[in-house]
Amino acid sequence: MDQYLIAIVTFTAIYGMIGLGLNLQWGLTGLVNLGQVAFFAVGAYASALLLLAGAHFIVALAAAAMLPAALATLVALITPRLREDYLAIVTLGLAEIIRLVFLNEKWIAGGPDGLTGIPRPLLGSATPSESAWLFMLATLAALFVFFMINWRIATFPIGRVLKAIRSDEILATSLGKNVLRFKTQMLAVGASMAGIAGAFYASYLTFISPAMFTAQVSLNVLVAVLIGGQGNALGVLIGTAIVTCILEGTRFIKDYVSILGGVELAALRMIIIGLALIVIVLVRYRKASVR
């Protein structure tokens, strides 16, 4: 299989994991989390630091799941009285704080230089191309597990409660549902998914730096989930594939339009994602916004 295709599938799967996390939070529960990249970054850094210290990949994965969940629980517990639009600002701010901490506190993880030489599991005995192939399969397996968790939650009685919270919190609480508990759980589980995605990301690239964890990541994932439709796990995967195609596809424009350089292309990508966001919200969520 072509190395480039393997890379794209791996990245799509990683983005899909972050998106499935956001699907639990926003899609099912209605929590507007604009800082999903914060949990992705914490997972990536936690796992990278542990792997560099010689820990087993399973240990790194566990840390990448647990630390973001703890952070999300903290966020949920200090913001329970916030209306949904304020939660959006808090999470957006959190993501920026996390990025700035990794950027400026060099003692944690190298500051702007980031971390290099992160071990990739399965690299030991295999050739680099075999390793990439195996790693893609491992990433897809994790994505499948997350998909099943999304599907289970949506079809179980717990999904009914989450949808009730999403559309009418007052009704849910009047029916004896502990809304804060459900919100905290979903923010935490969704953060874990982003964190594990971060662990795969760090190991796949073998290098991470704060520049990779900007608000743009949260936005890309949000667009993917919006394309997929609220609470639709399969839609999220399709949305992720579309967003990856937009992000990667723009690379090839360079070959046809000679005046576009790397900087212009990066800007073009952001313009396309931004336009996509506007169009999707106008076309797909018009009814919801009127309500």
């Binding site: 179980f156 009685p157 717990i158 949808k163 009418d168 502990n178």
Partner: protein, 255 residues
């Protein structure tokens, strides 16, 4: 156990300068059907919101079965056995009527995260039981044929019936019914009164806000008249109906 289900002492609640409740004191006898009437803005719905915990009183005490509840969250009060309906019906529009009811039972195994990993059989078994209960409640309010319709397409009257159905299914100790017959097809009102009487026979204490005087006079054994955030009069329906002060404040205008 005392004979008092609910006791409200000197409760005040102001919104800005507007005193919705101003030293409201009343008791609801266990097992009774107690009506709350009064002009618009008398504080009836505020009273319900305070009892169910959606609003906190500025001052005063609430006791449910001799236990202070004014510091509890709404879900905790609901779990003590206080169910309510809303004046403006609330329903989850993108779920079916049946699913809306399936939300009601408490302590569902399938609502725990752990149930995703183990205990699937128990979850589905509970689901079947809850479905049977929900369908039988839908039968009682004559909405069986609407069980698979999304709740958003129901008429206002049907949504009010769904509110009552939810309250029936919760099997509460105290039911707070906020204008259950408003907007309901007149042909059904007699049935609704029957449903509420049956609830009462099943041991549920009922506190009901109602504008339909026929319903109040037929159903309630005790009537409380609220005016400007406090109790103006209370007594049996016939006492209230013949009270001049009440007639001036409310009934005179309504009847």
């Amino acid at each position: 156990m005392s004979s008092t289900a609910l006791e409200i002492r000197e409760v005040r609640k102001a919104f800005g300068g507007n005193k919705a409740l101003d030293g409201c004191t009343l008791t609801v006898r266990r097992g009774s059907i107690t009506g709350v009437i009064g002009p618009n803005g008398a504080g009836k719905s505020t009273l319900f919101n305070i009892i169910s915990g959606l609003l906190r009183p500025d001052r005063g005490e609430l006791l449910f079965e001799d236990r202070r509840i004014d510091h509890l969250a709404p879900y905790q009060i609901a779990r003590l056995g206080v169910a309510r309906t809303f004046q403006t019906p609330r329903e989850i529009g993108d779920m079916t009527t049946l699913e809306n009811l399936m939300l009601v039972p408490e302590h569902q195994t399938g609502e725990r995260l752990m149930s995703l990993i183990s205990g699937w059989r128990r979850v589905w078994q509970e689901e079947r039981e809850h479905q049977v209960d929900a369908v039988s409640v839908l039968d009682r309010v004559e909405m069986r044929h609407q069980q698979d319709m999304p709740a958003t397409v129901l008429s206002i009257g049907q949504k009010k019936l769904l509110e009552l159905a939810r309250c029936l299914l919760a099997k509460p100790k105290l039911a707070l019914l906020d204008e259950p017959t408003a907007g309901v097809n007149p042909r059904l009102i007699g049935d609704l009164v029957g449903v509420m009487e049956q609830m009462s026979r099943d041991g549920v204490t009922i506190l009901i806000i109602e504008h339909n005087m026929n319903v109040v006079m037929n159903l309630c054994e005790h009537v409380i008249v609220l005016n400007r955030g406090r109790v103006l009069r209370e007594g049996t329906p016939s006492e209230i109906q013949n009270d001049e002060v009440v007639q001036d404040a409310y009934l005179g205008a309504a009847v």
